[in-house]
Symmetry: C2
Subunit: 359 residues, 2 copies
C-alpha cells in the first residue's frame, strides 16, 4: 500500500462504560475512548498486523507523521501489512485525556486527570485490538514514549507479539526526568494555566510553547544546532549584539517551534503524558530486571541514536544488555546521526534499513 | 595568606560621573560603580597581582566562592599574591546593574539596562585597576563568563597581563545560546516580572528559580545526575509513580536549588548577564580569528571539562587551536570530571594542579 491508495479505517472505540478501566495508580477511567487508524486489513492468517506506537505529541494517523515508512516498498509501502495506530490515553487527539469529562465531577478532568502509566496505555490498546478482532501482532514499533509502549507490550503480553522495535527508548534517566519536570513547571508558571482549568479560548500558550522549546533542545543535538544556526543572528534581521531583545537564529527557530506547537497541542495533555513518560520503569514494577524482562518472548530490536541526549545511546545499549542477560533474543543497533532524539523521525532511511530486516 | 589571616580591602569605586562610560552598544552608563575585593597587597615590583573574574552569579569576594584556592600553599595560600576580585557590570552584588538609577529617567533601569559586553566589563575593570594603582597583572583567571573576561583581557590589553587561565569558556555555542534564551523567556513569563519593573518585595521568584533550574541542568551532567539521583523518588517521601505531583529526587534537588538562588540573586541582573554571555564573540568583533587572537601577548591556558555540556571541551580545544594558529603561546588542559561545567568550582584540586604550574 502507498499513502495514496491505502485502505484507511479511522474511528474511536469506547469501552468500560460501566465497570470502568482501573489504572495502575488506583483511579478509574469511565469510559475509555481510544482513537485509532488502521491502514490495510488484517489477513486471514493473522500474521500481518503492525502496531505503531506514537510519541508524546503524535497521533493515531501514522501515515501522517511517519510517511516515509509507507513510501518504502520494503516496509509498509506494499499491500502486505495492516498498520494500526492508536492514540494514547492522556492525549488530545481523540483518546480519553484531560479534556474528557470526569464522571464524578461532571467537569473536564483538567489537571486532575489521573497518572496514566505506559502499562495502562498498552492495556487499553489491547482492548482496542480485541475490538478489532486482532489476536496477534507481527511487529510493535515506536520511538521515544512510543518505544516505551512497544517494550511494555512484549513484557505485559508476551504471547501476543512476534517482534518489537523500540527506538530511542529506555526508562528515562535522571537528566530526562529533570527536563520533563522543568517543562511541567514552565506550563504551570503561565498565569493562564489556572491550575489546569483554563477555558479553550484562553489557553496557557506561552507556558506550553516554552515547554516545547525546552523539549526541542533535548530532541535535537548541540552538533545539529551548531551546523544549522551557529552563532548567526535571527534570520529576520534582529541584532543580538546591541539590542537586548535581539535574538540569535537558534532562538528564533525555537520560538517558531513553540508557536507552531501550541496551535496543535493541549497543555494538560502535555503535563499528563510527560508524567507517563517519567513513570515507565518495568524493573521497578516487577521487582527485578529478570522478573520484568524474563517475561519477554518476542524478538526485540533496540535502536539507539548516537547524538540522543534525552535517551542516550548508552542507556539503550545497557537496556539491551539487561535484556540479553534475562534471556531475551535481543539485538542492538545504533543510528549514527547528528539529529539527536528526533532522528527516529528525521532519519527515516536509516531506520528503514534496520526495519526492513524484520519485515 | 590564608582565608583566616588575609589582608582584605573591600570597596566600591565609582567613575565616569560626568563624561559617562560609553558601552559598545552605543549607550552610556553615568556613573559606573564597581565593587571590588583585594586580598593582600600589590608588591613594589608590581608582579604579584592576580585578577579573578567571576561567573554569572559570583561576587567580588573571591575567597568566599573559591576558598580552596586560598587554602592551597601553591596558589593563594601563601603571602606572595595580591588577589583582586571585581564584581561585573550588570550584577546585583555592588556594581552598576539593572537596579541602578538611570540618570535619564530618575528610575531604576530594570529591564531597560543596556546590553553590556564582556569587553565593556573588562574596560571597567581596567579603570578599577588604574584606581588601585595597578599597571600589570601576573595572572587573570576565571571560569565560564569569568573565563570570557580573562580571554577578553588578553585580547583588549595585550601588554597588561602575563598569563591567562580560562576554564570552561569559549564563545557560547548554538545550544548554549538556546538555553540562555529559554531561561530569559521563563523569567519574563512570571507574571510578577512586570516588564522588569517589579518592586523589591514582589520579585519574579518563580521565573528566576526556574531559569536557575534550567541552568543547573546545563551546569551539571547527565552522568552526575544519574549517580546522585538516578530514578529515586524525592527524598522527602513523595511518590512520583502514583501521584501527579510526586517528584523524583532530581526534581526535588532542582527545586531546592531554584529556591535558594532567588534568595540571593536578582532577575533583571540575571537577564542582563545572560545577554552579556551570549554576546561574547571576539572573532566577530575583530573581523577574523587572526585579528582577534593575533593581538594576544600573554601565555594562555585553556581548560576544558570532559563532561561540560554548556561549553563543550571540544569547543574549548578548538579555541585553543585557533589561538595557536594565530601565534599565541597557548596550552590546553582537560579536566576529566563528571561534574559538568561546574567542575571549575566542584573540582578545585584538579584545577589547582593546573594552576600551580603557572604560579
Amino acid at each position: 500500500m502507498s499513502t495514496d491508495t491505502l485502505h484507511l479505517v479511522q474511528g474511536q472505540h469506547s469501552f468500560a462504560e460501566e465497570e470502568g478501566f482501573a489504572l495502575e495508580c488506583g483511579r478509574v477511567l469511565r469510559p475509555v475512548t481510544i482513537r485509532y487508524a488502521m491502514y490495510g486489513e488484517p489477513n486471514a492468517a493473522g500474521d500481518n498486523v503492525v502496531l505503531v506506537c506514537h510519541a508524546l505529541s503524535g497521533t493515531a494517523e501514522v501515515a501522517s507523521w511517519w510517511p516515509e515508512l509507507f513510501d518504502d516498498e520494503r516496509l509498509f509501502g506494499n499491500d502486505r501489512y495492516c498498520v494500526i495506530g492508536s492514540n494514547i490515553l492522556g492525549s488530545c487527539y481523540g483518546s480519553t485525556g484531560p479534556s474528557a469529562v470526569d464522571p464524578d465531577s461532571g467537569q473536564p478532568y483538567g489537571a486532575n486527570f489521573p497518572l496514566v502509566t505506559v502499562s495502562d496505555i498498552v492495556r487499553a490498546q489491547r482492548q482496542l485490538l480485541d475490538f478489532l478482532g486482532i489476536d496477534r501482532v507481527k511487529l510493535v514499533i515506536g520511538g521515544s514514549i512510543g518505544g516505551m509502549q512497544a517494550l511494555q507490550w512484549v513484557i505485559d503480553y508476551p504471547q501476543f507479539v512476534e517482534h518489537c522495535v523500540a527506538i530511542g527508548a529506555a526508562p528515562l534517566g535522571s537528566m530526562g526526568l529533570a527536563l520533563n519536570h522543568l517543562q511541567r513547571h514552565v506550563i504551570r508558571l503561565d498565569p493562564k494555566w489556572q491550575n489546569g482549568d483554563y477555558p479553550p479560548h484562553e489557553v496557557p500558550a506561552q507556558g506550553l510553547a516554552l515547554a516545547r522549546e525546552i523539549a526541542m533542545c533535548s530532541y535535537k543535538s548541540a552538533e545539529l544546532f551548531a551546523t544549522r544556526f551557529g552563532r548567526n543572528p535571527n534570520r529576520n534581521g534582529e541584532d543580538p549584539w546591541t539590542h537586548p531583545d535581539g535574538r540569535f537564529d537558534v532562538a528564533g527557530y525555537l520560538d517558531y517551534q513553540g508557536e507552531k506547537f501550541v496551535q496543535r497541542f493541549d497543555a494538560n495533555s502535555y503535563l499528563a503524558i510527560s508524567k507517563t513518560m517519567d513513570s515507565f520503569d518495568p524493573v521497578r514494577s516487577h521487582g527485578s530486571a529478570q522478573a520484568a524482562y524474563g517475561r519477554i518472548r518476542a524478538h526485540v530490536t533496540l535502536v539507539g541514536i548516537s547524538s540522543d541526549w534525552l535517551f542516550p545511546a548508552a542507556d539503550v545499549r545497557a537496556l539491551g544488555e539487561q535484556f540479553t542477560a534475562a534471556g531475551v533474543q535481543c539485538e542492538y543497533h545504533e543510528i549514527a546521526s547528528s539529529h539527536g532524539h528526533d532522528a527516529f523521525l528525521a532519519e527515516p532511511e536509516k531506520l528503514a534499513t534496520i526495519l526492513a530486516a524484520h519485515l
